[in-house]
Symmetry: C2
Subunit: 407 residues, 2 copies
């Protein structure tokens, strides 16, 4: 049973989204608000402060009573200045009507004053003596509230800074800090089990690079992941799945899903309720599967990838990176674009071909390595994935292709 | 002196690139190849294995002597089968001419055999008895080498898996693992000092959210960063810069660069060789500076950001995120696109306005918070930056805007 790339993208995304929603029901972690905080908020983070903490000036200028400038439309109004209010001042004295206070951006607006006029709209256009005792001329009226940032305009004490589900990125750390929030409740991270199948991995005849690469991807996204290797033996895989289902939220397998005679993942999972095994219209990464595993008490989704290293990496980019990143509260989309090829390529009909490429200094795309799904080193040397649509069987040098940035 | 956004992007990128190049001259770190490895390679990583380690099959099929099928163009050729070769087998017996070995994808091609015919191009189209002793019919010839992945095709023992400068991402961890590389020499990470200026921060009147947010950004990119707060006092800032220059590669400052009377960063750095302070045509984030600080022995660049929290975050996204990510070997570009607005907005002439927004379920973009650069909480609630070009002063609901994804 075949599937388009888009359909499998949606199916896997739905499965990961479901796992993340179930995980969000688990008891939250209490975390300190520090750089390095990741994940998503489990409960509203409530502000302990008004932000800003006081009415303050949005401009370098003069704090005034707006009413004093009402008649400045006809004739300029000149006011005497008082001492300069600077950022860091906490309690400037009350401003007397009929005077103006030179004020810095961010400095507290003196009690009484209700507007700020930018210095460049005054004469002589500077702040005058720091201690006050100068004169400043205004050539027009000003509305009450102009260039005043009111206390609590960003958030008020007791209001939620961020709601459940909010990603805890750098800007969130900044906002929580400014609102005086020191600890937050965080959704525990999705626990991902990575299962590599294959006697050649258990024996060490071939290094288990798939698990390492998937662990590294999970690490980059801030997910908790464990890695496991299992023989091509259905009973051994079933035992392992029964152990993993108790304390993981998603299981990823590599290998054992294609048309050979020892396809252990397929043998164990195909035909179970909700399982799908088949071909996605992509090369490499065609053989794919989706299933559920239950030990009777708990059920988790199993996303079954093919076993060749390039197929694993391409499958991760196409199907897993975005939904896993979303669960982790990260932006991990790949930059993409189009460019012309430096060389020709051929591609199978009816499948999206994904090649490895490099962006040349002149903005064209060259290919890195052949199409073979075993060329893990070539993949690591590339900085682009290059996409050839299903309907295309050949592209010439100078033809346009779509690319995704992977490095 | 004014600058376009693009010009400042290029200037800051050049400064960070220079700092990264100087840092790459420092002694490399020897790091184990494990998930969690980051940064860039300092020296070639040399393969200790041939990859693949043996000639192996690219398909599920039959390993044959190609010469045996030369005459299969006219009449089908039928060969007796020997025992099945599976992945995990390390030393299959030599294939006798005139026989065919059923073989799994990835399994070693038996000595003597030089081509693989996929099972679906044979009759009866299955693998026959696992122990051999069956018959298989081929209806066409096959070229020597077909569907055989030669030993060492990806990389050979003693060849470089990856060259200096290569980013150590998940695919690199996979490639190094498959090539038997257990340790690599890594360029030491860029050491970033973050300096927040302002009496209101030192006194605690306003929480220092800028440093926290910048530390969190640095952490996300895998950079080493330290944070410091200093009074609006030129001597104190000079002292701090003298201490930081000895063991940091880039210094970022926030605040103290605009037109007020206590602009300590500008006072200390403006007019020094190579320094530029002025206005970039963007709102927020207009006042910017670039300088160098030297203690006589060592010189590092100083990138001077404005002090308002939203200005800091927008400046980081526009000017710093991409070059710092590049130094760290990360892909950290922001996904971008265009969409129509749900509501009108106004924007200053001659400046790119950067607003905070949200992608609505219908694909339109709504605005989050006002334009004010003090609204740090609104920023953290947004998932988009929304860009209004310099030449535009108003947009209506339904008009198209450009966005970048930030969450």
């Amino acid at each position: 049973m075949g599937r388009s790339v888009d359909e499998h993208v949606h199916q896997v995304a739905a499965v990961i989204r479901g796992a993340a929603q179930r995980r969000a029901q688990d008891p939250p972690l209490e975390c300190r608000v520090v750089p390095g905080l990741t994940g998503r908020l489990a409960a509203p983070a409530v502000s302990t402060l008004d932000v800003p903490g006081f009415d303050n000036s949005q401009m370098d200028g003069f704090a005034v009573y707006a009413a004093d400038l009402d008649r400045a439309g006809d004739l300029p109004v000149t006011l005497p200045t008082v001492a300069h209010v600077v950022a860091g001042d906490t309690a400037p004295p009350r401003l007397d009507p009929g005077t103006a206070a030179p004020i810095m951006t961010g400095a507290p607006v003196p009690p009484g004053a209700d507007a700020v006029v930018p210095v460049e709209r005054t004469r002589p256009g500077d702040f005058g003596p720091v201690a006050g005792g100068g004169l400043v001329e205004f050539s027009g009226p000003v509305a009450s509230g102009t260039f005043v940032r009111p206390r609590g305009a960003d958030v008020r004490t007791g209001e939620a800074v961020l709601e459940p589900g909010a990603p805890l990125h750098a800007a969130a750390v900044g906002a929580l800090t400014v609102a005086g929030v020191t600890t937050v409740e965080v959704v525990p991270p999705l626990r991902v089990a990575i299962v590599a199948t294959g006697a050649e991995l258990v024996s060490g005849a071939v290094p288990d690079s798939n698990s390492r690469a998937l662990l590294a991807h999970a690490h980059e996204l801030g997910l908790a992941a464990t890695a496991h290797v299992v023989e091509d033996d259905p009973a051994a895989l079933e035992d392992l799945l029964n152990r993993l289902v108790t304390d993981h939220d998603v299981i990823l397998t590599t290998g054992g899903v294609s048309a050979g005679t020892r396809e252990v993942v397929r043998q164990v999972l195909e035909g179970r309720p909700g399982a799908w095994f088949g071909h996605v219209a992509v090369q490499p990464g065609g053989p794919q599967g989706l299933a559920r595993w239950s030990d009777g008490a708990r059920e988790v989704p199993v996303v079954c990838l093919p076993g060749n290293p390039v197929s694993v990496l391409v499958s991760f980019e196409l199907f897993l990176r975005s939904p896993l990143a979303q669960a982790a509260g990260r932006v991990a989309w790949r930059p993409s674009g189009t460019a012309v090829l430096t060389e020709p390529l051929t591609s199978p009909a009816g499948r999206v071909q994904v090649r490895r490429g490099r962006m040349e200094p002149d903005g064209r795309v060259s290919l890195v390595g052949e199409a073979g799904s075993h060329l893990a080193v070539s993949y690591a040397r590339a900085d682009l994935l290059v996409f050839v649509p299903e309907s295309v069987t050949a592209r010439e040098a100078g033809d346009t292709v779509e690319w995704w940035r992977i490095a």
